[in-house]
Symmetry: D2
Subunit: 322 residues, 4 copies
């Protein structure tokens, strides 16, 4: 049994990790550190963890309990991980960081499992990808085998749980309901993350990225439009996606009579992907759960790869915390 | 033109008052005081006020601008009104208080317009009823002419805007969506308010009151069950409701083939009411908008009555702020 | 492996049965009969069955494939079961009927598992309870040990999936959204079902039953108010509920600092129940998933009891089809 | 008073027209023809028309009551208008057709008011634009003054009321809730409509159009990405939009610190538009109400222009029918 610590355990992604790990056969949860919720039962804060008996541990409990070989899942707010993760690594633990802190950092392995499996297997520090980058990159990267588009457009739609559980006016039911809200119109944190990975993976195309909040709790759809100078060959495009994901447990490529569905992947680590060649444009649409493949699910997938467990261990059941 | 000040102007009910008053022909809004939002444009905080040009005024602006004969609509959090309202009154203003502060106080007139019109017309200080008490009392009070029930049950369902615009975990989209949440199971602030008014109006029956949040931004349905020792006469019951609301501009009594609808009253000062005699039980179901008849709409109705304007002035258009 | 047929397989409850049974270790699905969808893949009609490979079978396929010892889950519209179920029984199959057809019929065993386990174990024909009766009866029946209330009020709130997947104006998103809709105000099919079971179980109290649709896809909350002539003893009430459900796998009695949550039971066969003594009134609130404990989950629970499998077999994972 | 007939009056757009016209000072509604709803009260079918007293008229009532100079608003399903509109015109009526039947036909004037005002003023037959084309064209057409883009991408999100009130599985609450659904991936009726108008207005660029349904009853956001060979001048772009809409009553161009909001335009004939130059890409985002500016609101605006009334007559109040 691998000992796992969830550090910063009061948010949606952390709770979703608990749900996945609760049935994981090779892992035990040792600490669930939360400054704000110390002592409380998770069951009282997350209805979907009702049947578990975990309690939040207090500040410092991760560090106190840490042993060599443990895994820390860091799920704190962006900006806090850098202050603590080095200590965890020094103490002999591996770390999977769900914040943005290490995503642009060469000292960490970028945890996009389908595209970085070997490095993840050898990693001690994994920067777990953002939800928007996950959906966008899964849709774009197969194109790397076909040439660099003149322009990339990513128009992404997300459920509001991506904004976290820290209360803010913009996340209130009365504000999200009945609204479609484009945001980050002057620039979004995830844009450089996507651009960096595109560059690393050989698709250094200019990117226009526009995120939107739509009225649902969880789920994400990214529509990627890759504009080329001339039409690509449809068969070659299809072949590239088939090659990329034909053996994937989690990424399903949908045919020309199907539709990627957020409902179909909600509560899972799955992704659904459909690609069409429309004149000079390749349109690839990817549906994920922002808290699943876009956060907690991918973290568990990375944990499995890092520890040498079968990749889908603990990821069969739907997990829902919001 | 009557000069109106909205004191505590950053919440949903206050903004809804602005929408109603913006087209009110006999009233001008002089100050919109908000400690937290001073200087900001309402249009930037409330999409549904987009076409207005109001700005929030800073702390103390109401007091500074106040003149004899002005009206202050107090829309601060519960507990703050008592510290300021006496000064406003002393300065010669009339006050309509949307908080709970004066609802149990004999120095204020309880602003349930359909049942207290004469006293409202003469009032200087009006305690605007809570949303739950409004829906409950509109449904119950006609029964006062028929006897005191052995027991009253009020099972009420509300949209989340009733919890205000101050962000809290319980009001987040991801928490309200997919949930039906009974609350206040150990006692709710509105219960004594309802009980007091029942007693004052001759229906001193024991009350069981259970509020619920359901997934919508605005709207409220209260199901009232009055248990008697013997069946009431259906015709007498219908006659009591017809007499109570037959001349009402805002309360519609729906017949036996109709259904009270929250959608139908959403954004309005209307109420829809259906009453059935079912054995020993009289069931009266009342639909209102918690921000309309349950807050801002009723405040404007009270303002009209107090100032001698036609009761429906400014209340024709639907007003929506959430 | 028990051979199971789902007869009338195109609705929400049937699809939810498929999801549960898909991971059931002792059961195989043999036919999925649907007149309207014959030949289509379930994955194309139900996003949450995407990873399965079932197809709908055509009319008559159940009868054609039936063998002695098989189980038929009948999930057709109300009114159709009576024409076919007798043939299935005659052919040596057992039947669990999700329609209302046999719920008032002494030839069938009423499948409220927590209250009828022994009879279910011996049954050949089970009338699976309606969702409203399930939530109502779970909340009321423990009171049978304490006396007959003078009056019972059941105020129930349901997600719209309870209305089925046959399209109708009242089930459209644009009609349900923003609305709270009481219905069946002149009488609802589930009222005699509840009354019959109350009578059979020794609580022959007059019942007022009011169902409501609220804006969510799945989930149900029933607020039961039992009015007595005098206050019941709180300890005795608590003891009655503890005795009724203390050993239950699926029914959780929540304490005085907890709240029954529809989210907590969504996608499961669980029920959450809280009971309070408030003067002469006992209020018992029960949350279930209308498609889970209120339909498919309870069907699988009954199947397990009938076949002698552990009661929770196949019911651990959350199942979602809407 | 102009006599108006609504032909095909049982859908959302027709009912929304009724709401607008109900307070229009220069118009009277003469017939509301609906085959399916003949005789019923609109108030019973549309909660938001509760306070009106209209009834649906039977088949043929429009033709029977028609006089020279009347206006017919045709709101039937696509494909039915062509059979009847010629008769209405022959009888001396003017027609505003909300269906797609005449949108690609040179015999009708395309009713995109901000771009076709003069022709509308002289028209006898107006093809009222589709909701997607309206939002898309309002966002794209100002670019016509700046050159033809190499490629146009339109990624549009719509509330489900755009699919109409005819019940279908895809419009059910339980299917739309929790889902983001791209559709028409193999081609959508609105694509040729947009392409034709682009061509007519001097922007013959290749277009990729992808519509999506998101979980809300009404509202639409279209994100337009125009890819040029080189960056456009920001000031010139801003100037083009300012010139196009600076005098518009209904189209608001939002600055660089603002966000187009579906809530802000919901229930109105307004549009909100923000444009950004991002490298070689011009991104223009347009928010409308699909039933307002995207259907009924624009129909009334066209009626006003055609009849010589001030353009905003009857369009001040929010109108909601879903």
């Amino acid at each position: 049994m691998t000992r796992v610590h969830i550090w910063g355990a009061s948010g949606y992604a952390a709770a979703e990790c608990v749900r996945y790990l609760d049935t994981h056969p090779f892992v035990e949860i040792v600490t669930l550190e939360s400054r704000s919720h110390a002592g409380a039962r998770l069951a009282d804060h997350f209805p979907l963890l009702r049947t578990t008996s975990y309690r939040f541990d207090g500040e410092g409990s991760t560090a106190a309990a840490l042993r060599t070989g443990d895994v820390v899942i860091a799920a704190t707010a962006h900006g806090e991980a850098r202050a603590f993760v080095p200590q965890f690594l020094e103490r002999g633990a591996s770390v999977i960081d769900l914040s943005a802190d290490y995503r642009l950092d060469d000292n960490a392995v970028y945890g996009l499992a389908e595209w970085n499996r070997d490095a993840i297997a050898d990693a001690r520090l994994i920067a777990n990808p953002g939800c928007y980058p996950t959906a966008s990159l899964l849709a774009i990267l197969p194109l790397s085998r076909l040439g660099v588009p003149r322009q990339l457009i990513v128009d992404a739609k997300s459920g509001i749980s991506g904004a976290g559980r820290n209360p803010s006016v913009g996340s209130l039911y009365a504000e999200v309901s009945g609204e479609i809200r484009p945001y980050g119109l002057g620039g979004h944190r995830h844009q450089p993350e996507i651009e960096r990975l595109l560059s690393v993976n050989g698709v250094p195309a200019p990117l226009t990225f526009t995120p939107h909040v739509v009225p649902l709790a969880r789920g994400m759809l990214a529509d990627v439009y890759a504009i080329f100078d001339a039409p690509l060959d449809s068969d070659a495009v299809r072949a590239a996606y088939a090659e990329a994901y034909g053996n994937s447990t989690f990424v399903r490529v949908i045919g020309a009579d199907g539709t990627p569905s957020v409902s179909a992947v909600s509560g899972t680590n799955d992704a659904e992907l459909r690609v069409d060649v429309l004149g000079n444009v390749v349109r690839a649409i990817c549906a994920i759960d922002n808290l699943g493949k876009g956060a907690a699910g991918q973290a568990i997938q990375n944990l499995n790869i890092m520890l040498g467990y079968p990749e889908e261990t603990g990821l069969h059941a739907r997990a829902f915390v919001a």
